[in-house]
Symmetry: C2
Subunit: 500 residues, 2 copies
């Protein structure tokens, strides 16, 4: 009866296997691969991605999708099979439009771009990266234009990371968010600076590691289906729902990096570990989008991990572990310390109040580049001007300014907005969760995260990529992605901390 | 001019990339993969091996091989391209003969076989493995018969591991070896048992690890293109010549396991690290055969690592590292201790004098199974009888008897002989090396292995799989694989140690 669907699934299973294999190679590259292996690894990765692309964009897959559509007519809209075909059809239509030559051209430009960026960043000299970035931007424009007609040239890029999301939606959301964020930051800046010097002492690395793993174990991260390693840039990766790995970076003289890094990645990982088993080996068997993913990581890192109830539970153990550093630091001072707001130059080190400003700046630049209203050569100046305008700080050099992030060098234009969207979604979900679990704070105060995780499993995780992000959030919260809950959350939190 | 060859190479490069990717997944599985990942990993591996098999056995590859043959007519016989086509042709002709259904049937039987074996071994009950092994043996017979006509039904199996080698050759070699080994073991058994109790003390694991890595660093193992991890069963794997990894197992109360294990694997690894770069991403870019590989590992482990000159150099440092355990042990006693001969039940723990007896027993059984003169159900009894006959010991149960090795459960019938062949080749090469490097002992006594490694690089490593094992050994030593040098080596060594 569903012969074609079965045939299609078997091909899709293999394509997913290849992607998983490539992800294993990627994990290995960032964790254990010896330096000398880099050249061969690039070949192996390129071959796997070529084969998977060829398999997916074949006429056969196109035909099978069309035929499967017929076979499953009458199935419920939300059924796994119906959703699978919908997603495959969407991805297929998008993929086949892109000429193989352009795929290869982009892949090459991104690879050269990363090299140039790394050198430019090291020497803090944007000019070494400029021509490569110009090429990348040109190729991104060329790529986007394939998908004409669109409302905005940035739409197809955004859509790669957030299926279905439009530039106009993001702009509107960010317009609402910006003045509220600026106001909050201004009010905080008028208050006395918080002393967090106790976080900047020497903290034994093994003890940091152990404390972090204890916390995420209590969160519910399943070690039987995961592991944690060290890497320069922390990340989560998965090869199916049964092998979801995280990495972390421990700073010997700054406690928050490792601790909140582990919580953040565990948030991503528990999402993947919670996807329904029957979605395995298909594109549905993974998170819905980067923004939904980020909502999970930021929720565990910030709404849980930087909350007072959490530390009412965990601070005694932390204090005992680091009695020399924290023995004399009161819980309330510790809580303030880990929530200190201070405009700074680097996104990945930013606090909750200023983080989104870093993203807005990047989004405006990306949109300008794609529209053609901003030129690559002007980026350092534009960057520095906007930093001064939004955060009141100016980078002393390109390395801590326009060159700080790797994303553009990899061609990942359209990615940054998902960080802020993730923040917004985390608060939007948090409001719902607290309606459903009325004593959540008490549970967290007892170190009990089981109801929270169960809620996330049921409402988010299990669905994998069955629903597009806006649809998923609307199903759960009743409205599309909106900034109000996040603004409310920030204002409440910092009013308490800073007595605003 | 060589358009078809170029096209062929580009396909072969991709197939090699896929194999390398699969090898990364295999390495990960044995080292860091969380338990829960096993099911998905099996799918990923199966998909990669299916794709690589499909690609290689396609008509296109067959045509390109035929057309390339024409293009390279007139090339020197030993040129890389000529050898590549020869090897591809050989492998292609063999691969296309095997029906896909049989490949799948074997793969399934091996996978079930491994599970059954693991359980049977744990419960020490051969009957739990019997029916699975019977199926595996039947499939191996079916597989072999595809390649009729042959001199012996065992030939096609042996050929998978030792291209070109015939069962008759191996039998002849082993016939010569057997009486000499038995005689040597008997003479040793009449002497006083060596005391090696000092090796069975508590040795700090980290110190063991460090000492082992120091030794293989001095051997010449290139850490920029490799790394060492821990695993239950030590192995070497590589993903090209620039990423060749080894694993080791440290026994907290038995010094030789980790120490000689690292030397052994480094011997394998330096072989792969030494393959000529221009053979990369082809089947020539790896070792010639299992026996040649084993000759390298055994050479570094035994002819170097268990030799007196080696320990004249390294013993003071070892003694200093483990002063409590070895402070009062004289070099001559240590040397005797690590070379103690004692017939035992388990192959992987056997000394140099008895090791080959374990292999001969297995080879005879394998040949019997393939010829049909031995039945699977009789294996435990046959095993125990032969053990008594060859080594004078009888297993108390199947776990330490017929179930000790994983090979048959994986369908790897035809593999065991390569261990003994490797031993023989190591001594055969050693004779040549000592003619070319007349003061080798003195160099080893100074901890200088550079001339030895250079010799191996030049005569063995760089050639990768360009030459079949017999051809390679004949090119170097002037004769085919022969047991005399090994017999001579053993007799000389043990005459000194045991005053025979």
């Amino acid at each position: 009866m569903t012969k074609k669907l079965k045939e299609l699934k078997s091909i899709i299973n293999e394509i997913t296997d290849i992607s998983s294999a490539a992800a294993v190679l990627g994990w290995d590259q960032e964790t254990y691969m010896p330096k000398g292996g880099i050249g061969d690894r690039a070949n192996q990765m390129a071959t796997l991605s070529k084969i998977s692309h060829q398999k997916f964009t074949s006429d056969k897959v196109g035909d099978l999708i069309a035929e499967s559509k017929n076979e499953i007519k009458g199935l419920e809209s939300d059924s796994d099979d119906n959703r699978l075909i919908k997603v495959l059809d969407r991805d297929y239509q998008k993929s086949v439009k892109v000429p193989t030559e352009l795929v290869e051209e982009m892949s090459k430009a991104n690879s050269l771009g990363q090299q140039a960026w790394a050198e430019a960043r090291e020497k803090s000299d944007f000019s070494l990266f400029e021509s490569r970035l110009k090429e990348i931007v040109e190729l991104r424009r060329k790529y986007a234009m394939i998908f004409k007609p669109y409302d905005h040239i940035y739409d197809p890029l955004l859509d790669d990371f957030e299926p279905g999301l439009k530039t106009a939606d993001v702009k509107e959301t960010f317009e609402k968010l910006r003045p509220k964020q600026i106001e909050l930051i201004k009010r905080i800046s008028e208050k006395t600076e918080i002393d967090n010097s106790f976080l900047l002492l020497k903290y034994d690395e093994q003890k940091q590691w152990n404390f972090g793993t204890d916390v995420i174990t209590k969160f519910g991260y399943d070690w039987n289906r995961g592991r944690q390693d060290k890497s320069t840039h922390p990340f989560t990766t998965n090869f199916g729902r049964n092998d979801v790995r995280i990495t972390t970076r421990i700073e010997p003289e700054y406690l928050p990096t490792g601790l909140f890094g582990s919580m953040h990645e565990a948030g991503h990982a528990m999402y993947e570990q919670g996807v329904a088993p029957n979605l395995a080996r298909t594109p549905l068997g993974s998170g819905a989008s980067l923004a939904i993913h980020e909502s999970q990581s930021r929720m565990w890192e910030n709404l849980v991990g930087r909350s007072l109830p959490f530390w009412e539970c965990f601070y005694p153990a932390l204090q005992k572990t680091f009695s020399k550093q924290l023995g004399d630091v009161k819980l309330s001072d510790f809580y303030k310390g880990i929530n200190k707001v201070k405009p700074s130059l680097v996104r990945v080190e930013a606090d909750e109040a200023t983080y989104n400003m870093h993203i807005m700046l990047r989004l405006e630049i990306e949109i300008g580049l794609m529209e053609g209203s901003i030129e690559v050569k002007d980026l350092p100046e534009i960057w520095n001007t906007k930093m001064q305008e939004y955060l009141g700080v100016t980078p002393e050099n390109d390395a801590e300014g326009v060159l700080q992030d790797i994303h553009w060098s990899m061609g990942a234009i359209g990615y940054f907005a998902t960080y802020t969207l993730g923040n917004l979604i985390s608060a939007q979900l948090w409001e719902c969760i607290n309606k459903d679990i009325t004593n959540l704070s008490d549970q967290i105060r007892k170190g009990d995260f089981s109801a929270l995780l169960a809620w996330l499993r049921k409402n988010i995780h299990q669905h994998g990529a069955k629903f597009e992000p806006q649809e998923l959030i609307k199903r759960i919260t009743g409205s599309k992605i909106t900034p109000e809950p996040y603004i409310k959350y920030l204002n409440k939190k910092y009013s308490d901390i800073y007595c605003l």
